[in-house]
Point group: D3
């Protein structure tokens, strides 16, 4: 049992970490599955507020897969995927934007406000934060190219809307939708958005909260630290695959732009963010330059 004196000792143990991160931007990808559990979400929100209070500059990027599926089902629509990516026609895109920007983003913002923080939501459209472009078609198992419709890539990030909110004391909460110059709206993978935003802000850290413990080797053992070379090898030999691919891609994008460290950690573990950032126990997988 943690007695009172050891409480203070544990808090004082956070001192070197708080010092190192003071004033630094940390981009946190906080995803769809991790948001389902109410208690866990409360813990993540508390972590974000504490990060801000001890001098860090957290930026949240969120996804929303399960909620989009649910909304489509309610509207009688059938989600379709190609290589794990959502095929997004205009009707689907309308649902995606409504759910991401008009529901999940608002929920996170309101939660932060309710627990005593201050947050403002942004989509890629707000202030021209993200300029999108249509993603390339993907190759189906049968070798055919599948057009994903309104699935986009990040063409350009304008960091000013986020800087404006940070300087005014708000935690920016970013939904992964954006427009292009023709006025079309795109759905972009939230991991990739987090990587590009971290890159544009030259953040200190990118932390991707997932529902697994990190990157595992073929024997299922956690790999705690990987270099970019390691990652490229593991992608080539298929150890890293499927849903882990955009996460790893986000980390590489961020590292190339000068972000110091990137992490893939288990967001279903209570206060995993604080554990990673403010305690000597590293958790999950760290990918470094």
């Amino acid at each position: 049992m943690a007695t009172a004196p050891s409480r203070a000792e544990i808090i004082i143990g956070a001192l070197p970490f708080i010092r190192d991160f003071s004033g630094k931007t940390v981009v946190v990808k906080y995803g769809g599955n991790a948001m389902v559990d109410r208690e866990l979400t409360t813990a993540v929100i508390q972590d974000l507020i504490l990060m801000r209070l001890v001098g860090m500059q957290p930026v949240v990027v969120h996804g929303g897969g399960p909620q989009i599926d649910q909304a489509m089902k309610t509207s009688g629509m059938q989600p379709r995927f190609a290589q794990g990516l959502r095929i997004t026609d205009a009707d689907t895109m309308r649902i995606v934007e409504r759910v991401l920007v008009g529901e999940i983003n608002q929920e996170i913002v309101a939660w932060i406000q309710r627990l005593g923080g201050a947050a403002i939501g942004l989509s890629g459209k707000d202030g021209g934060l993200i300029q999108a472009r249509k993603a390339a078609p993907v190759k189906a198992p049968d070798g055919q190219l599948v057009d994903l419709g309104l699935v986009g890539d990040v063409a350009r990030v304008d960091p000013r809307p986020i800087r404006t909110l940070q300087e005014a004391g708000y935690i920016p909460v970013v939904a992964p939708t954006a427009g292009d110059e023709t006025g079309a709206t795109y759905n972009i993978n939230a991991d990739l958005v987090a990587g590009e935003v971290a890159a544009a802000l030259v953040a200190e850290k990118l932390v991707l909260l997932t529902d697994t413990d990190g990157i595992l080797d073929r024997q299922g053992r956690l790999l705690s630290t990987l270099t970019r070379q390691d990652v490229e090898r593991l992608m080539a030999d298929g150890t890293i695959n499927r849903g882990m691919l955009p996460k790893v891609q986000a980390c590489l994008t961020a590292l190339k732009a000068g972000v110091r460290k990137t992490h893939i950690i288990n967001g279903t573990r209570q206060h995993a963010l604080i554990e990673e950032l403010l305690t000597p126990e590293g958790v999950g997988t760290e990918i470094v330059a």
Copy 2:
């Protein structure tokens, strides 16, 4: 035909108005019906960008009735109204928030960006802009009180999120949804939100864009200038009624807080905003203290 010299003369004619409004905040309610016509919307967006460029500080508040009805229909839901107010259960509220915040707000923001302006969307939840409270039940024609569900009133406005965006050069675009301290989300009449926001900012002007020419007398003639006393008399005798009621209420709220002038004008007329603000021709109905 307007020849070149008279162009310059007309522009120079805007000089006294530009001078008077320099640095002043003008809250513009821009509504659901007015947004249906693409050309008209383009004209309104241009007006907002010009307002900003000549030194005014426009703040947009938008509604979205028709689009909400359409979205509910698509989801197989049946809109219900009591005394012209939408009865809003939890499922309806989810649709309302998704459409207002995740669709209409984003559309206005993206349009402003595309025409060369800079805008960021806010709901009442963002940065704690609006604190809502449940609205009182309304009396049905049969005398019974009808609970409107998640229809809210404005309990409090925190002007800081809007000020932050204004100072950074963004036009704030506000969706009329907000939370209360229990975490519930409310739909608030956009006219009322515009009035309360204008009051909290002590705006120079509140301009409500509608689809009629202004307040008409019983003979259908436009009333161009009304005092608060006039308005109260016209409400009492039923000349002002139905959908015009929240508009007039918004004007009175704003005037009480020190807003100088309020206007109800026909937003279906091209560049009616510029006409009202920068030309000697007043349009619509002006309600003054």
Copy 3:
């Protein structure tokens, strides 16, 4: 006849120009002949005030030939010219400085103030704005060199006095007189001063208001756009000559320093400045890099 809606449309037509010039410095040479007509002067002053209100930074440089001639006549002195340049002895210089700084400059300043703007007059001596040096003698038709006396060139411009006034919200109004390090005072051609001031401020535009429509070809047709090469050719072949020479020289000086565009337009046309700056109709001759 311009009906109300088209007023708004014409104003909105100024949008792209206002956007492009926002925050930019525009140096306007406003001359002696153009100042004789009271109505015209009122129009020019309104143009300057509007420019400031819509976000431009106008700087006025003025001449005063006719008024100087008049003042000399009153004092019983005889103006003398060589190659169109005023031969300026000490007595003449005293009259020149009194009229330019103590009469014309004050008249423009007072006019701007009276129409609701804010202006402060400067000579080249104020705050060391302009350091002069004696101009070289000119060659008379008989081949003899004529010493022009106290006619000067611009040796150096210190932009700080103008920046100080601009930042405090005043329109700077510059009289073309300046001293050298010996304490002598010089009369400098106002067109040249305008060109040098535009160059030192790296202005966006230099606009010279004259009493002709611009540069004409040998057939008397207006040349609307010229490059520096065109201009040098036209000077060489004598198409550009006499009073147009210092104007063209001013444009070249400004262009060399990085000023984007220079214009020679007819200031006797009402609101020609606004026409040039804020309407699609270009007027006069534009000389570009």
Copy 4:
């Protein structure tokens, strides 16, 4: 003979005065007669520059009677006076403005610049510094009221143009001409302008440089310190009269507005300003509240 050590001691003796005046505004009236002697003027200019360097904020107001008389004579005009005040018709006013603003003001400005200071000239018209109104007629010895024409009083002072120049590091040099709302230009007594400017700036001191030693009693002895009551008594009994009247009036105006001390000192004595401000030897007459 002042040996080297005593030099340092004398300089250190200025310490308490420099400390007391640090950051304080001192308005100096520097007049027409005092400007005739070149060596004396150099000394006054040095004094002003030193005042600025040791942290004071000098503001110069100048007159120009002798130079105006001279200019009128050159133009074949005959100065006319009533009760010592110049009767100013439109032609005279034109000469007055030209000479004050276009000659004397420029001369002082250029002199300060040449000796290493920084100065910008202002008239009452510049930036709306002084709003004038027509002065009341004066009673001639024969009891008739004489209309002085364009002789004005100070209706209002806007201190912002002076503050702008002070903050940017320039010594403001003020010519005593100003306009009214009709566009008329007035000649105002420079002593009165100095008093009103000192009042509007709530200066620390007003120092009027004259060509006498100060206020003398009927036996011709210098009165070194007077209160407002003393002054009113001496005006009533005629001891203070003629040209000393506007000086004393200026002092009273300044004192009423909160200026701490006012001085009438002999500007024909070398470095009298420094002697008064930075040495223990007071000179001339001091009028205090």
Copy 5:
């Protein structure tokens, strides 16, 4: 044993306290006896650095009784006391100032710097922080008044030196010596200095670190919360006495000036400061308004 997850939970438990103290000044009296143990001092220094990092503004006031006694002994001098207060002649005062300012203050400053913080030492003389006055004589047990010599009270605190250091990011470390206007130097009780400094800064908290657990009742039980009334009663009945008197006096001074809470806690307990400030476990005695 505290496992990894509970570390994060304990850190997150500090969230509400960090939020409440963000930007607030906390004055910490850190005394002579508490400084003897090296490990304890390290812990206190870490606490101060963490306080600063999480957004608080700590100000340290230190004493130095044991070190002064030691230094006097080394110099062959005999400490003398009256009513627990050091009788301070000129020779003693020289030792006191040397040890407090030239040894203990420097030691604390260097320690903070070495552990990664930033600190600058101040005495009451630096920047005129504290103006002292001679303390009144004390009554000896035999009823005679004993002059304490150079023992002083705080006459006035100028908070600017502390504010200057705080704004530049330094932790101010204050030694309790000060001068009066005659140039005499006084030794002031460090508890009293802490109370006066907290009062002048209108600090959020005053925390006095002692070597006992707080204020005990007559049965030796800790009194955890006392009001000013309680304290006055306990002083009157002698429960609070001797060395606890100046501590309690310091708390009352601070509370009267608007300091929110004051604490007397046991500085010999590791990280007692963090325990008091950032954990739910209050320690020691809290005296509130």
Copy 6:
């Protein structure tokens, strides 16, 4: 005898010097022997306050040899020297730090405050101003290397603590003690500290106040201006030796870093600082690049 007019003339004679030094940092080494005479010290303090008032930024570095000797004697310790440098064991160092930081520094600070200036004392430990390292052993006449103990050199200067105080209007007063990364405290020659501080601040001037007239040639005549080459030659041939060596070394260090001029002057001459800085009479020896 200096009559009143010549007082003003002498003050005005300081004008060019005040102008040249405005805003510039001047480091003044003010030493132990020079501090013994009360009247002299008052004069030096006045000089420093005047320097600040006329716009210079003085920084004081002080020594304290005689006072340290006296304190050691009082404590029954015997000063030991090797090659003129104090052999400093731990007990000696404790005395040195107490006397320099806790007595002399405080005395200078209090004196400046009492005469109306504002000063804050710093040691090399405060804010990490100076990082020390152990000095190399010196060679005794018998050829043996003598370890000087806790005598240090300047390893690094962090100018921020001084800049912080200067910007807030305080004169920084620096004691020549500093720590290294192990926590050891060192005594550093004050001349060397002055040179290094002047170098780190890229001061305009370094002025070393000594008790001789400057550097003398072998015939005992004052050398008024020396270049670095001259100095190196005079060091090589032994003309410059003993206590003058660290002074000359300090000048060379400062000059190498870009300090414009360095001076060794006689601080026992009243107001020698003002004489050097603000009068045409140079005093002492000037060493220039």
